[in-house]
Amino acid sequence: MQAKHIIQIDDLSRNDIEEIFSLAEYYLQLNKNKVEQKYCLGSFTQINVFFENSTRTLASFELAGKKLGGVVQDIQIATSSIQKGETLIDTALTLNAMRPDLLVVRHSSSGAANLLSEKVNCSVLNAGDGSHEHPTQALLDFLTIKHRKKKKEGLIISICGDISHSRVARSNIALLSKFNNQVRLIGPSNLLPASFREMGLETYNRMEDGVRGADVIMMLRLQKERMKGGFIPSRREYFNRFGLDNQKLSLAKSDAIVMHPGPMNRGVEIDGIIADDLNRSVIQEQVEIGVALRMAVLHLLVDRKG
């Protein structure tokens, strides 16, 4: 793999992605068979520096690093409004002095991971920066799609929800488009800026239109701050318009799969019955594949140093 840092999907070539996927498949099998893979890489130090609260992503990265035999240190720095710009650079310099091989970074500001990568010597892996990108989430989503659909090109993939603020959506748009899939975006106009249409993507304000004939429906989490911040009038109206229920799902292809990056708001963006339907919902698979995928990415970033 060429890339030193993975801040956004465009840091990766198609070949890089194929390489990540094939290694991820290998780790997925090992994980399923509970085969330990420690020490294959030799010793490496991974610091997970999370400026934003996270349980699932942090656990996934921590587990992935540890399974590879790395020394993994979590640093959770609760974000506060005073922590900006200069403080972040100071933190970067402090961490750099600890000589890690890898920094896994999450921050509530778009561009924070990039800023950090400019200040440190080691590799930086973006685990979500503001509304910008969350590349490993997109990679694991795509690998999950590939598993279920047995192909990774020519699919109709509908992404529904708060597109405007979603880093998951941006990474997925970049990745899925790279492989010639048709990406549709669904959401209310105030959470789905017209600029996405100008970028050549299909946009829909009526979910029924957006999911018609889709192979994959990717639901996004509606953040609490959007509910409180006046972006939508109420949970019930949001569910009525953009919540995935059986009626809307029935418009998609009969074998369409349902994805969600978690954690879900049942009854807001997704009907609990659909979330629990194992024929449709691949939400648990996404989590399982997530660990293997992150192992592969960490492996390739550490390994490139030789």
């Binding site: 106009s189 017209a194 972006f231 009038p233 009525n240």
Partner: protein, 427 residues
């Protein structure tokens, strides 16, 4: 077949036509069946009086729920019928405001039960009409709200308004704005100028309307929104409207008959019945507004019917509630535009009936065959002296009290049913 009535000897005022015609006119089964046909069914001799589509009045406040003592569905319907108004596009600024689908349902049901004229409700744009949180625009739209407005409140926070407009654009719904800058007009009762200065009344500048219009028209310029300015009343507001209309075909604007006929000097000795929102303007603004009506820049004339009880008005000017009733005077008052040769009768009914019906996207307001039979018959010339105590409205806060006007409604028909008949009109 339902009820068939043929009006004969009518002077037919059709806003879709260029010239007036006369002759017979048959309605049947609630619809306009034919024009200039034979005499069929019951016959009503109009004796040369005018027959026109009923008035569609945008911005009527019925004070249910909350202040039924000021105006109920029944009294509003009776007042409208007497005044020649057949459709009420109602305001949601009741107590509580119409800001949930449940309240809209109640409001619609009350209208259905009680009102003989058509009720087209608008719903609140923000909860409690306070400009902060948007209402369930989707549910309310599906529930039959013909548009959204915060009444006389302008959303102070432009970012919130922008957010709401973008959300609402998914429904291509009607947004009725009150384009008066919130902060410039807050706690004011008149327009800046010599009159307000002499009288010592707190006042806001006409610029408030320019800023309000510039903001609102800029915000909607790239959105799929049908924006309607409730009342444009100043020269500088009209200038913005003219410019914005050149590029935005979904933009419309109204004005109230009170702002056409009165100016700030009419407030005189602190007469609270002349306290309106927006406040009465200078006479030069009023003249410019009249010109804009002649030009066709203004789309509709409304009464901005706002009932207030005596207690709300019998107060020092600045403390008195704003607004005037208008359902029972809008026809006679508007006819002054005809008598003063500003508009022909056909043109006048474009502003009173056809355009407002188009604004709310209802197939009303003309006399085409097949249209619902919402019709009025009126005498355009008869002198009348307005006596507010003769009103059907529960509130009598009219600035026209004691005025001599010309023109009187004789008969009102909604959906083919006669719901009002003046005693002087023999059928």
């Amino acid at each position: 077949m339902g009820k068939q009535i043929t009006f004969i000897n009518a002077r037919v005022i059709d806003p879709k036509a260029e010239i007036e015609t006369s002759g017979a006119f048959t309605v049947n089964d609630g619809l306009i069946e034919k024009r200039d046909g034979g005499i069929e069914g019951k016959v009503i001799d109009c004796k040369g009086m005018c027959l026109a589509p009923g008035i569609v009045d945008i911005g009527v406040k019925i004070c249910e729920p909350g202040e039924k003592h000021k105006e109920s569905f029944r009294s509003a319907s009776n007042a409208a019928a007497a005044g020649g108004v057949t459709s009420l596009v109602t305001r949601p600024d009741t107590k509580p405001s119409i800001d949930t689908p449940e309240l809209l349902e109640f409001f619609k049901n009350r209208g259905k039960e009680v009102s003989e004229v058509r009720i087209f409700p608008t719903a609140s744009l923000t909860k409690k009409n306070n400009g902060e949180k948007m209402t369930e625009i989707g549910f309310l739209h599906d529930g039959g709200a013909v548009g959204f407005t915060d009444g006389f409140n302008s959303i102070p926070d432009t970012k919130i308004f922008h957010q709401i407009l973008r959300y609402a654009s998914d429904f291509n719904t009607l947004i009725i704005g009150h384009p008066q800058d919130h902060f410039l007009t807050k706690d004011t009762s008149a327009t800046n100028g010599v009159f307000a200065s002499i009288k010592g009344i707190s006042s806001g500048p006409d610029t408030a309307e320019k800023i309000g219009m510039e903001r609102d028209t800029a915000l909607v310029s790239n959105l799929n929104i049908r924006y309607h300015a409730d009342q444009i009343t100043t020269k500088i507001g009209l200038d913005v409207l003219r410019k914005a209309k050149a590029t935005n075909k979904q933009l419309t604007a109204g004005t109230s008959i009170h702002h056409i006929l009165f100016n700030e000097l009419d407030i005189g000795n602190y007469r609270t019945f002349f306290k309106l929102k927006p406040p009465l303007r200078s006479n030069s603004d009023r003249e410019t507004l009249t010109e804009a009506i002649r030009e066709g820049l203004i789309d509709n004339i409304c009464s901005m019917h706002t009932p207030q009880d005596e207690e709300s008005k019998r107060l020092p000017f600045e403390e008195a509630a704003p607004g005037a009733v208008g359902l029972e005077t809008i026809l006679s008052a508007s006819l002054s535009l005809y008598h003063n040769k500003v508009l022909t009768l056909n043109e006048l009914f474009r502003l009173l009936a056809l355009n407002p019906a188009n604004i709310i996207k209802k197939n009303l307001g003309s006399l085409e065959v097949g249209q619902p039979a919402d019709i009025i018959i009126f005498d355009p010339d008869k002198p009348v002296k307005i006596d507010r105590f003769q009103f059907q409205s529960k509130s009598q806060n009219t600035p026209f009290d004691g005025f001599n006007l010309q023109g009187e409604n004789l008969l009102t028909m909604v959906k083919g049913e006669i719901i009002f008949k003046n005693n002087s009109f023999k059928v």
